[in-house]
């Protein structure tokens, strides 16, 4: 036990002391932040005021209303500049010609500081009202979000115009075409949780992502460290002093603790910032465009309140078991190889299930109690992903939770036993990379 502690301490201290650890601890949240916030900011930049010409081939007030709707449209709770600047061009009877001349004024002209340079041309005809098809020619048609928004703005105007032409009272029409907005809230154990649908997904995704990252980064560090001990030949001295299993266990735990330590630094910082920065986060969330907003606003108070103590415990237990399960395999893979390059091919069987694990989340969120979810809760490769995610979305019977954890504990013991035998022979094998057939023999005879 004393010896295992020595190995754990060495792994932990030597890793935490490295510049790489300090840098990654600081840099990773910065990068993540940049990756979520930056596109949102860029998106906002790009969606400054758009100059749109409305070519009216229709009699009446339809054109005016479209123009008004465009100019009045604002993104939710923003103080952003007016999204659309509109030029109306009446063109009854000569729509095509007017449209073509308007198209001539689109594109680069705005960059040449010509005031009426256009981003797009909207064409309204009688046909529009009949078929619901509105022609839009623009430089920004590639932006799906922007086209969706345009559609959203035009929809009620067209509906209103149609209804009015059919003789419906304008007042009634106004009421009828009002927006519908789904406000979601999660119910658990017969109680309102105050957790929105977005937050539910954010939480599930967050847990899976943390597990995925830890397995990929720290799991493979276990592997690399095993290979390095072989390459530097220190392994022989270690093997003469320690049982291989002690060595492997110490290494897995030591590296795992580094991962937990880094996570707790991040979590601690996030909580600390969150305690006085929630409003700031909220403002940021509102400010950025929809994509970033979901994640950022989910990071607000509702997100944190959604995390129940039971969920934290389940997540941590499965996190630790999952790490031990995969890290033992990584250690075995490392021992099969003599160089870090060799590991690239052999590690596939270990990394593939991890990648599948992160993919299961979409199915799980849609249908947490579906067959897939129920089955993989009892498969050791994916239980660490499935159980916390399902638990975060839907209440699970205690028996199922405990059974899954028990299955996981047994699997960890089994994998550690097999990995220990592979490791025991592997660490002293040099030269050719071991094949899986060799490994099967090691397990039988070691």
């Amino acid at each position: 036990m004393h010896k295992i502690l020595a190995v754990i301490r060495r792994e932990f201290i030597e890793r935490v002391r490295t510049r790489a650890f300090v840098i990654s601890t600081v840099l990773f949240p910065l990068l993540m932040g940049t990756f979520t916030v930056l596109p949102a900011i860029l998106l906002r930049r790009a969606s400054g005021t758009k100059h749109v010409a409305v070519v009216e081939g229709v009699e009446g007030t339809f054109g005016v209303r479209v123009a008004q709707a465009l100019m009045a449209s604002r993104r939710r709770d923003t103080s952003a500049p007016i999204p659309f600047a509109v030029v109306r061009i009446r063109a009854i009877g000569r729509v095509d010609a007017v449209r073509d001349s308007a198209l001539g004024r689109t594109g680069l002209s705005r960059k040449r500081a010509v005031a009426d340079g256009l981003d797009g041309v909207l064409v309204l005809t009688e046909e529009t009202l009949r078929s619901g098809k509105i022609q839009y020619y623009g430089t920004n048609v590639g932006s799906i979000a922007e086209m969706r928004r345009l559609e959203g703005i035009l929809q009620p105007v067209v509906q209103r115009e149609r209804l009015e032409r059919l003789g419906v009272d304008p007042g009634v029409v106004l009421k009828a075409v009002g927006n519908v907005d789904l406000v979601t809230q999660k119910v658990a154990e017969g109680k309102l949780t105050g957790q929105s649908g977005e937050a539910t997904f954010g939480l599930a995704y967050g847990m899976v992502f943390i597990l995925y990252l830890t397995l990929m980064i720290y799991g493979s560090q276990v592997m690399t460290s095993v290979v390095e001990e072989k390459t530097s030949r220190i392994i022989e001295v270690l093997a003469s002093s320690l049982r291989p299993f002690e060595l492997m266990l110490g290494k897995v735990i030591g590296v795992g603790l580094v991962g937990l330590f880094q996570l707790s630094i991040w979590a601690g910082t996030a909580l600390y910032l969150g305690s006085f920065g929630a409003s700031f986060m909220g403002r940021m969330g509102g400010d950025v465009a929809d994509a970033g907003a979901a994640a950022a606003s989910a990071g607000g108070a509702s997100f944190l309140s959604a995390i129940s103590p039971a969920l934290v415990i389940i997540f941590l237990v499965l996190f630790i078991l999952g790490f031990l399960f995969y890290a033992a395999m990584f250690a075995a893979v490392g021992s099969m190889c003599s160089t870090v390059q060799d590991t690239q091919q052999v590690m596939m069987p270990v990394t593939l299930p991890i990648m599948l694990g992160i993919m299961t989340i979409f199915a799980l969120v849609n249908d947490p109690n579906g067959t897939l979810g129920r089955v993989i809760t009892f498969i050791p490769f994916w239980a660490p992903f499935a159980l916390p995610v399902r638990y975060s979305i839907t209440p699970l019977p205690l028996a199922e939770v405990l059974a899954s954890i028990a299955m996981m504990v047994l699997s960890v013991i089994g994998v550690a036993w097999v990995a220990g035998r592979v490791y025991r022979v592997g660490i002293l094998s040099y030269g050719k990379k071991a094949s899986f057939r060799d490994v099967a023999r090691w397990v039988r005879t070691a």
Binding site: H2, R10, R233, I234, A239, S240, L242, S429, Y430, G431
Partner: protein, 317 residues
């Protein structure tokens, strides 16, 4: 005499070849025991089996009069592997502390002993430096300390002097001799006979996994017998070769160009050889009747061809 290491009829096979075959060795307590043999003879494999890093396919190994070889004994054994290796990024002091802890000593004590040894070998200034900052010779010293730190009763050194300059080699030799003098047992392997000859009380020579010579140095030399002459000449090398080629005078020559070790033929005498050489005007600077050197015994027993390392490096599977 109690034996510290008892290897009984041990065989170890790896995929494709037999590394050690039916080998029996008894290492007496105290003193320096030499495990000699050409490269690839099975020395390292034997040492690893004694350490229980490898397990024998047949036969058995007991340590410290009767205990089966196992990791539980590792606290009483110090080991310097042939392939040296340390954690490059660790500080020297921390590294030694860790190696001590791995042997089961408490952290504080391990650190203290490590520092004492560093001081003794003259590299105390490097305690806080990373291993990778040290010269190769200094790294060897650190590893050497790692093998001795926990004050083991049995020290296994696999090619301890390879890659060392004469000064460092001398320092380590002194340490080894001192350990042996304090009643501990040192077993070291080497293929450099001069070293073994100067240091060992007892030797075993193995070749191709089998034992060819076993005994105290004196016994081995007596048993090998013969009358030997060591000579050095300064000119007319071809004339010297001619004289030494005379089979009525000389049984066997171990020729080094300007010097040679000669085993006299049954009918020859040292007098006649000396006369012939003087007549040959070879400028003799040394002519000494000696015991056979370990080198010549080794060559005679193992055969010149076995001294060539097998092309394939040993791969464990």
């Amino acid at each position: 005499m109690t034996s510290v290491v008892q290897v009984e009829r041990v065989t170890k096979r790896f995929a494709g070849h037999t590394a050690v075959q039916d080998l029996s060795i008894q290492v007496p307590a105290g003193g320096i025991f030499g495990l000699l043999g050409p490269n690839g003879a099975g020395k390292s494999t034997t040492i690893r089996m004694i350490l229980n890093i490898l397990t024998p396919d047949e036969g058995r190994i007991t340590l410290f009069s009767g205990e089966t070889a196992s990791r539980d004994l590792s606290a009483r054994i110090g080991y310097l592997p042939e392939e040296r290796g340390l954690y490059k990024k660790m500080r020297v002091g921390d590294h030694l502390t860790f190696l001590g802890e791995a042997k089961g000593i408490a952290r504080g004590a391990a650190r203290q002993k490590g520092l004492a040894w560093l001081d003794r070998l003259g590299i105390a200034d490097w305690t806080m430096r990373k291993v990778e900052d040290l010269s190769k010779g200094m790294q060897q010293k650190v590893q050497f300390i790692g093998a001795l730190l926990h004050d083991p009763d049995l020290v296994l050194l696999d090619e301890p002097f390879s890659g060392l300059d004469p000064v460092n080699s001398q320092v380590m030799k002194d340490v080894v001799v001192e350990i042996a003098r304090s009643g501990k047992t040192v077993l070291f392997s080497t293929h450099i006979m001069e070293q073994a000859e100067r240091m060992c009380d007892h030797i075993v020579i193995i070749a191709r996994g089998q034992k060819v010579v076993d005994g105290t140095l004196a016994e081995v030399k007596r048993e090998f017998g013969g009358r030997h002459v060591a000579l050095t000449f300064t000119r007319n090398g071809d004339r010297a070769s001619e004289v030494l080629g005379d089979r009525s005078l000389v049984e066997r020559v171990d020729d080094y160009g300007a010097s040679a070790e000669v085993q006299l033929a049954p009918g020859g005498s040292a007098d006649r050889l000396l006369r012939a050489l003087v007549e040959g005007d070879v400028g003799l600077s040394r002519f000494e009747v000696v015991e056979a050197s370990l080198q010549s015994i080794f060559i005679a027993k193992v055969g010149a061809e076995a001294a060539v390392a097998p092309a394939q490096e040993v791969v464990h599977a």
